[in-house]
């Protein structure tokens, strides 16, 4: 997929409506990743309909049900397909649909429906917290690979896999993904963590927008993977400034996904960043993004070890001095 520039709005509330998508296109987005369709949404909505149908029903003579019969109802998946179709009709840029799940259940079947609805590419978001003490990392990763294979068998469009950072050997795993049919990887998925409510003594969901420093891990691994794996790399999570974008590209990313910055400042921020990127490149006489891409990847820096333990030692040394006062 060839894009105008590498700044892609990632899945977020902005990409969940046609109006939002249109604003992003108008702001110069070269492609859009639609807000994700979650595995749970597909299941839960059927279950909601079923619980509505059954709760209190057929128990008491005056009220054999409590809701109008739901003979015809749409689940969010249907709406999502409409979003893909609508985006395809209204936008002139590539539309990347996004599926989010972690089991091999029926939701995987939506991949082909998304392709039929007109998606140019699919981002598969493997969002999973591996908390099962009986299941090894290898087993978890094996399941990821099976899901990717399952999806790949269904579709012909490019397939990007969005990964979380908790992998024992990321480079090896990405190679496996490549074999399983992925066309790109997007690193890293941000896990929305829980928080503790000290008043209610309850665990509550917590969502915060990303900050620039969060991108550093993705930066490292992009640099390490670049040229070691055959598929495209995209960085997500923490890109806010043109400097962030440049770093990601120089580490080896083909594209940089962005959500928090656009949520904070509106889609129009995108055009500003693109201008700044162009400006920076012109000033320093870079001719293309291709030129930038991977220029500071592990294999292309003077001391490849800095990406690994060497840098660690340095950090300890200098960081220690800094806080010693």
């Amino acid at each position: 997929m060839t894009l105008e520039h590498p700044l892609i709005p990632s899945a977020s509330p902005l990409t969940s409506s046609l109006d939002g998508l249109k604003r992003l296109e108008d702001a110069g987005a070269p492609a859009v990743v639609l807000a994700s369709l979650f595995e749970e949404q597909v299941d839960l909505q059927h279950e909601l309909a079923e619980s509505i149908r059954h709760q209190g029903a057929e128990a008491y003579a005056e009220a054999v049900s409590y809701f109008p019969p739901l003979r015809e109802y749409r689940v969010q998946a249907d709406e999502y397909l409409e979003l893909v179709e609508g985006a395809r009709r209204r936008l002139g840029i590539p539309v990347i649909a996004s599926l989010n799940g972690c089991t091999s259940g029926g939701w995987v079947g939506y991949a082909s429906r998304l392709e039929r609805a007109g998606a140019h590419a699919l981002e598969l978001n493997l969002y999973h917290l591996a908390a099962d003490p009986e299941r090894s990392g290898a087993e978890v990763e094996q399941r990821y690979l099976e899901i990717v294979q399952g999806v790949r068998q269904q579709i012909h469009i490019p397939l990007a896999v969005k990964l979380g950072p908790q992998l024992s050997s990321p480079v090896h795993f990405v190679r496996q993904l490549e074999k399983a049919g992925a066309s790109a990887v997007v690193i890293w998925n941000r896990f929305y963590q829980c928080n503790l409510d000290l008043e209610q003594l309850e665990v509550v969901p917590h969502l915060e927008l990303s900050r620039s420093y969060e991108m550093l891990s993705a930066l490292t691994w992009t640099a390490v993977m670049f040229a070691r794996v055959g598929l495209d790399l995209a960085v997500t999570g923490g890109a806010h400034t043109v400097e962030d974008v440049l770093k990601a590209l120089m580490a080896g990313a083909s594209a940089v996904q962005m959500a928090s910055e656009l949520l904070l400042h509106g889609p129009e921020r995108l055009s500003q960043l693109v201008l700044e990127l162009g400006h920076w490149m012109r000033e320093r006489e870079y001719l293309s993004v291709e030129q930038l891409k991977g220029s500071m990847s592990q294999q292309r820096v003077a001391e490849p070890a800095v990406y690994l333990r060497a840098n660690y030692l340095r950090t300890l040394q200098y960081g220690g001095e800094r806080w010693r006062g």
Binding site: E47, E50, Q55, Y60, A61, V64, F67, L70, R74, G106
Partner: protein, 1129 residues
Amino acid sequence: MARMMDGNEAAARVAYRTSEVIAIYPITPASPMGELSDQWASTGRTNLWGDVPRLIEMQSEGGAAGALHGALQGGSLATTFTSSQGLLLMLPNLFKLAGELTSMVLHIAARSLATHALSIFGDHSDAMAVRSTGCAMLFSSTVQEVHDQALLALAAGLEGRLPVLHVFDGFRTSHEIAPVELLSDDDLQALLPSELILAHRQRALSPEHPVVRGTAQNPDVFFQAREAANPYYERFPDLMQALMDRLGERTGRSYRLFEYRGHPEPDRVVMAMGSACETLFETADALVHAGEKVGAIKVRLFRPFSSAHLEHCLPHSCRALAVLDRTREPGACGEPLFQDVACALMHRRSLQICGGRYGLSSKELTPAMARAVFDNLSAEHPRARFTVGISDDVSGLSLDYDPSFTLEEPDSVRAVFWGLGSDGTVGANKSSIKIIGEQPGICAQGYFVYDSKKAGARTVSHLRFGKRPMARPYLIERATFVGIHQFDFLERYPVLERAEPGATVLLNSPYTADQVWEHLPVEIQRELLEKKLRLFVVDATGVARTAGLGGRINTVMQTCFFALSGLDGMEGIKKHIEEKYPARREQNLAAVAMALEHTAQVTLAGRVAEGEALEPLVPEEAPAFVREVTAVLMAEQGDRLPVSALPADGTFPVGTARWERRNLAREVPVWDNELCIQCGKCVLVCPHAAIRAKLVPPWLLADAPDGFLSQKSMFREHPDQLYTLQVAVEDCTGCTLCVDVCPARDKSHVARKALGMAEQRPLRQKGREHWEFFLKLPQEPPSKASQVKEIQLLEPAFEFSSACVGCGETPYVKLLTQLFGERAIVANATGCSSIYGGNLPTTPWSKLSSGRGPAWSNSLFEDNAEFALGLRLAADAQAARARRLVEKLGLQGDLRAALQGRDDPESRDLMALLDSLNPRSIWAVGGDGWAYDIGCSGLDHLFASGAKVNVLVLDTEVYSNTGGQASKATPLAAVAKFAAAGRSMPKKDLGMLAILTGRVYVAQVAMGANDTQTVRAFREAEAFPGPSLIIAYSHCIAHGIDMGKGLRQQKLAVETGHWLLYRFDPRTGLELDSKEPTRPLREYLESEGRFQILRQTHPESAARLAEEAQQQVKERYQRYRALVASRSE
């Protein structure tokens, strides 16, 4: 091909297609006709002329009749559906509609009228109460007839220019599922010629050809004008018969105004209207077959009553005729049909005509009873007036009958299923009927008997399958198959009573075929052996759980039923699963696959019945009435009670619910006395008053039963006492609200609270001992009870109601009794609260240990405010007279003592009035359907009267009792019945309307959001010298929520601004007890199914309405804020 459907759908399918305007209002059992119409309209289904009918839900049936009258006078084809009290509210308009010769049909699912008691079940007392209106009355006796005659009624109405009341039996026909050959649009068009429709339009009020209709007439002409309509009545019967003939030509189903079936030369004939005619026909057939000369007549057209057609129909050989009425007209010389028939046939001198009553409130008319009626006619001196189906030991009117006479078809499958409400049993049976009944060559019938309880209700499904059409409008008497879907039912219900010898019994059992015997009650063992039943067990609960279906056992039981009964339905089940359970498809298919593997027959050979007999349903210490009457009802043997057992005026003793130990909960709360902080929140929120606290001196607990827990008092004024919190484990419904609200957590294990749920069964015996001991402990009322912590020490006089598990209404009702129970009189509008408050067998309103307690009555739905006002006036009048007499007689001090020995009339009068000097706290309690809609004008008048009546509105924002129809309290964007496309109007601000009168104390409360404010509002309302109104947020099963989290929903409703908390005292102004909304309304909308579901059915309007709702929340808050500000200015 015939389609399986119930009578309501059969009527609605014609009514909808032939109407342009439909005015609706919910009432059982007619509501589904309106609901279907609303649903079809919301999906754009069109009528015969390509338009979507205009549907409007009105504020009452009176309103619906008015709108109907207007629509008809405006030239549209219009209809409505109703029943019972609803029909009575339409009465004035029915006279008008008939007087103006208006063509229309009103479909009536006939139901008992409220007299000594309300009853939702079927008889003709409503229809007969409107027989003098001048409307034609057409009775249907089967589901197919309902469908066909819905059309005939309109066709005749248009041609004959009379409004037609199309009547069929409530529940028996309205809710029976039976095959229907559907009328096509062509059939409809053929009987509804366009010129008649045009003529109807031309009679409309129109400025283009103005007329005056509805004049006032005087003695000179009124009479003559009334007689001028006679020709329309005279020609109507012939015209109707001609239409019946035309329909017969098209469909092959021929109908007569009066239809005779039986011996060609009968000496005895029985006639009736409605579903019972099928039983009469069937019984007559059997008797003729046995050589008797009998016959039966079905009356279809009751008004205009055609003597000529009857004369023609009744064979001249008949010497004795019994006319059966499904109604009672006390004091008349006979019931309506009997009177008409007797009048029409009085010239037949040799014909003896008897009149009998049967089937009130859906009482069965079985072939055995029908036979008794025929037999009566054989007697030398037949009983001229009689009842059948009951045992009347007061007036001696009832006919004896031999219940062993049955007419079930021998080679049919007759299956009875015992299920728990909402466990899927009825749903599965409805699907079984469709799966099997829509196969060629098979006839099917389904009827469902529901409980009168909302929590833990049991259902009994009656399914017949056979090769011949089966119009048997009575429950299965000899079952070939009995499904028992809940093991506990063996102890509670006569589950095998209907099993015929050799029948198959399928039991959902946690025990295997080898183990189960010893777990069966000895009574069940005995019946299994005596009837030689084939017993199969399946661990359906286990299979369902393994298959990933949680507790839903319906698929497992349905699969086993098909396999054991020999019915071919496996493919049908799978197809049904594909269609109905897309999300749980695989789990359901797995359950089908596993079901039979886990089914095993229990070997009964060599077994003997042994074990302990079941405990009596109520203990010996219960009052005599409870033992002799209530307990019989509880055992589902109420049909056997004779007339003398029942009070003649509908007055019952209070406090009977405590004798009915329902053991509903699988898990009950267990108290951790080390963690508890004695806050009293659990006691406050318990919907069933099943968790209570007391403070007692330590010595009283010296002989407490083993394991009875207490802790040191944390009440400052009672430091030396012990606090105990007890759960009535046999009455608790397991809703978990108490656990959810409990704020006391283990510091090092936050999931542990002072209340946690534990399995009930092991706790049952101990729990009962503890509860009985607890009840006997004395409790001094606290010196003041303004805080929740103190409220827990007040005795409730409302306990163990039959409300839903986790009900949001009952905690408020209970609080009312705790605060004011000593002196309360409660007027209760019809609705959920009147049902869980007053439905037999047992009722929750009870006495306090002082012997005093709230007196309770349900008048009607629409008149509750006026009823309460009347109670206030009576209380005031009597108190005033008593005070005047005290003064006149010069009495002081202890008046009762002072009156002792005085025998003059005034002293006697004063003695009788003494109680009236005790203050009375008069309460009008009801739901939003009453307060916002049907009872609104009465409420308005109550407010204007200034009378000291307290109004408690239990606002569920929907007609909960009749199954979730929208009221004017239903919020914007909520889906409800009659608002299938989401309610598009904002909730009416009842509180603001009352505030604006400037004379009413008004409070809006939500216990789950602020319990202190709730208690305060109740106190202030009652203390206010004029009318008061408390609008209480009541979470409800119709909201589509987890009821165990209902209190959280209340909190969220307040935090998002959906629900404001405030108190308004006209003397001091408004106190806004809610903070400015801190969370977006979206969070609330997304947490309730009633809003969520709109996103799935109507996504565009869901988004728009949600936005509008958010805007309105903001505006309303500002409005109330401004009112507070204006006060401080």
